[in-house]
Amino acid sequence: MAVIRCPHCGKPNPDFVETCQYCEQPIKDTESPAAGEAALSDGTIRKSLILRCPNCGKPNPDFLNQCQFCDTPLKSAGAAQTPQPGPESEPAADLPDWLRALRGEAAASDAPFTPPASEATHDWEWTGAGEAAPAGEPAGEIPDWLKGATGPFTGGEPGPAPAGEVPDWLKGTGALASTEQPSEPVSDQEIPDWLKGATGALTPEPAPAGEVPDWLKGTGALPVESAPPSGAPDKGAPGASTAFVEEPAEPALGAETPDWLRDLSGGEAAPPVGQPALSMEAPLPAILPGPEDEPDFLNNLRGAATPVVEEEQPDWLKSLGLSETPVPPTGSDAPALDFSAPAPSAEEEPDWMRTLRDEAAPPAEAAPAESEAEPDWLTALRADTPTAAESALPGTSPFALDLGDLPPSAEPEAAPAPGGEPDWLAALRPAAMSRPETPATPVEGLELAQGELPSWLAAMRPVEVERMIEPEADDYEEKVGILSGMRGVLRAEPSVVLPGKSAVNVHTLLYTEAQASQAEALAAMLLGDKATAPAGRRKARLAVPWERWLVTVVILFGLLAPPLLLPSLFPRPTRAAPETLAAFEVVEGLPVDRPVLVAFDYEPAHAGELGLLADAVVGHLARRGVPLVAVSTSLTGAGVAQEALDRLTAQNAYSETVSVINLGYLPGGPIGILQFSLDARASFAADFRGARYEDRGGLWQLPVLRAVSTLDDFGAVVVLSATAEGARAWIEQTQGRPTPMLLAVGAGVAPLVRPYYEAEQSAAQPRLAGFVGGVMGAAQYEARAGSPVSPSADFFWQMLGGGLWTSALLLLFGNLAHGALQALRRSRTKRKA
């Protein structure tokens, strides 16, 4: 099997493929340069060069940086390594015929190889392009057998070939040359050993009979009758070439092996003429798949290989001296391959064949045609490699690794010959190798036949260990949820997650009967709250509250009945209270040249009671002609003061600004009272009406105010207050002043203000000189003053009396009734209890 280089990536590929198995580019590129040639930028073609390793001296291609044998850098600074020209660079005349023939065929191929420009050409690239064709063949003409070998592998149709020249074994394969040359044959020295034994174009060197390992014997690569190889086993022989030994030793070549093939393997006996030049009957080397593992094309090669009738053999084949052989057996019966070289006639044998045979022959027999011009590598090969009879290994690549003596293999079955099969190879060989018994069957639906594992690859398959795995029986039946009763479903309640209650240490709640009853009561309450109570009938909004109406009626009756029905029911008082009497005395004794400050600290709403007081006290002052100066700490009191002054002074011929003036509102509350008591003029700049009396020199130049600057300048201070706070403020802020003060407060304020009056009574001259409280006090004061009682005043007095009595009686009887009802309910509750 030829190996071709991909023109794009330079990787090796079998010749039967059309696309590179690495880069998937078409290999058959007619425009690429020939094999072994690098397309340079200038259009010239550079031939591959060979570099000698400075360490081991082995040849290496120039594109390698390290020696492939000893990993020594090839392209070091000190290495005076001059690339040796490869065999491709030798003149065509110096090349052996077989090689020349190969080059000529390659040059005439339709698919010249074009290695990548970035890569140097590899060592085993075909560089036959450009070289002269072998002498025996026209330049560019590929032998038919070679054409046939490449054509069908690429899928191309077999090209025209002389029917008489095509061996029968080759006819059936369809491996006839096509118009396209898919690949170009590789030089012998570039082909690795493992491949050499399979190609058949190699010259397997004869191995010594005693040294032939069993695994190789069966391959048929060695002739059975051949003498033991004279040469020592090539130490450089790549033992790795047989690393994938899979098949047992194939029987040695039998008498059916063509002589030419036997001669190729190095045996003295040349295969009889007529035998197929390339017998594929013998089993392939261990590195190659066996007949059973081989693809169909190869099997077809074998199976269809029919002995070529002499008269049907092409001339070149006849020259090989192949004898007619029976149909080679196929399958397991197929004998091992025998690459012993045939013995064609000297005239008819192609040069390359002759060369191969010569090389396969013992060194004594082998006589290279041009020993002097032979390249060094070839000479080295011949010197190093054993003879065909001695060497049990096929032809080794000059670039093969020298592994040295390998220990004998431990495999009993495939125990190689001493010094033959390396141990690692024996170790890799499986104990039992099974060959696929079933032939390849095409995959359904595809036209391609299913590939078969080669034996060597099948041997690498892991041993299947049959283990008994019990089938998982899922018989769990779901019990909850909507999937209850179904099997084979995921558990709704994973048993791992669900915590379970401990059956031990169950906590019991201890409680008493009282707690239980309380809990029941609470539960009953909660349940009772939930129960909706029927909504009671709402009372009509227009319903008049009879209690209120009753009280109103009673009070109105009490107010109106006495003056209307029972006049003088309530006589006016004739005696005055001491405090009222004292007040009268104070007013009575006030000088008329000193104004009296009257503080009207009550609201219009309180005018019903305080107005009577004001009429009594202020009226008394007015009747005496005492100048009056009115102030008010209430905003609305100033207006009340003005109304009172107007009413009182009109009766007594008081003239404003002379006898009476209303200063108006005194701001600041206690602060204002304190300021006024300290500096009255600073508190007011105008009167209640806002008059400044500029024409008269100002407010404080008026006759009534001319002598007033502080509180001490007043003859007295009369405080008319409806609230205890107002009265207290006047009392507290005027503390320490000698001006006497009269308090006229309402009935409700009187108890709160009276302690002030009572507290100063022990003094020699108490500041609080008098105290008049309520309507009663006003009546007492007027009675003491001897003021005439008007009818309206009497009417009012009667109303007031009736109202007070009515209120008192209502309070009394109301409380009594309430108390009686309460007692009655308690008695009923006790009775029920």
Binding site: G669, P670, I671, S792
Partner: protein
């Protein structure tokens, strides 16, 4: 119809409208109340402006501006302007200064007056002699009873506000044994005092009602005349 008569009649009507609350909340009552509130508010603003702001802040500038007067006016104006910022929320913090001044001054005056005008005299007033004073023109028995009642009332009323107690075996808290009887008597005095106050309030309310009724009747009488 004179203005006085109109005033009387209007007053009587408003009084009746307020007294209509007897049948419950009604529009007449609402009108009367709103009228009273509005009129009062207006009247108050006018009085404050006429009697205080205008003469104290504006008219004072027209008078003789002595240095003292000018200083006082300057401070008055400054506090007034700062207090005006109370009307604006973002700058209302500026009005805290005059407000703080007023509150502080008022508290000082009030506390001083309470001490000297109320607390001291009242405490002194309780120091009465049970022995009658012949100088007073009061019956000695009356003086004695008055003094005793005063003393008892004071002490017992103070005992009512004794908040110290003792825990009884049943868990209740009671006054101390020495204080408990006085506290009991003091509760009587406190009750009486509160009753007297309530009586005065009732008396005043009756007086107010009588006066209103009298005014209504007067108005009716005048209308009828």
């Amino acid at each position: 119809m004179s203005a006085e008569l109109v005033g009387v009649v209007v007053g009587a009507l408003l009084s009746l409208m307020v007294l209509s609350y007897l049948i419950g909340d009604n529009p007449l009552y609402r009108v009367a109340v709103h009228t009273f509130v509005g009129v009062t508010a207006g009247y108050v603003m006018v009085v404050a402006a006429v009697n205080v702001i205008y003469p104290q802040l504006f008219l004072a500038l027209l008078g003789t501006l002595t240095p003292e007067r000018l200083l006082l006016l300057g401070i008055s104006w400054l506090l007034t302007v700062l207090f005006a910022f109370k009307l604006f929320n973002p700058q209302s913090a500026v009005g805290r200064l005059p407000l703080a001044y007023l509150v502080g001054l008022g508290a000082a005056v009030a506390v001083g007056g309470a001490l000297t005008g109320t607390l001291v005299p009242q405490v002194g007033a309780t120091f009465v002699s049970l022995l009658p004073d012949p100088a007073l023109a009061v019956d000695p028995l009356e003086q004695l009873v008055s003094a005793a009642v005063l003393l008892a009332g004071t002490v017992c009323t103070l005992a009512v506000f004794w908040y110290g107690g003792r825990t009884l075996p049943n868990g209740k808290v009671a006054r101390p044994l020495l204080v408990a009887p006085f506290a009991r008597l003091g509760e009587v005095f406190v009750g009486l005092a509160l009753g007297v106050l309530y009586a005065g309030v009732v008396a005043g309310s009756v007086a107010y009602l009588a006066e209103r009724l009298n005014a209504i009747l007067t108005a009716v009488e005048q209308l009828l005349q």
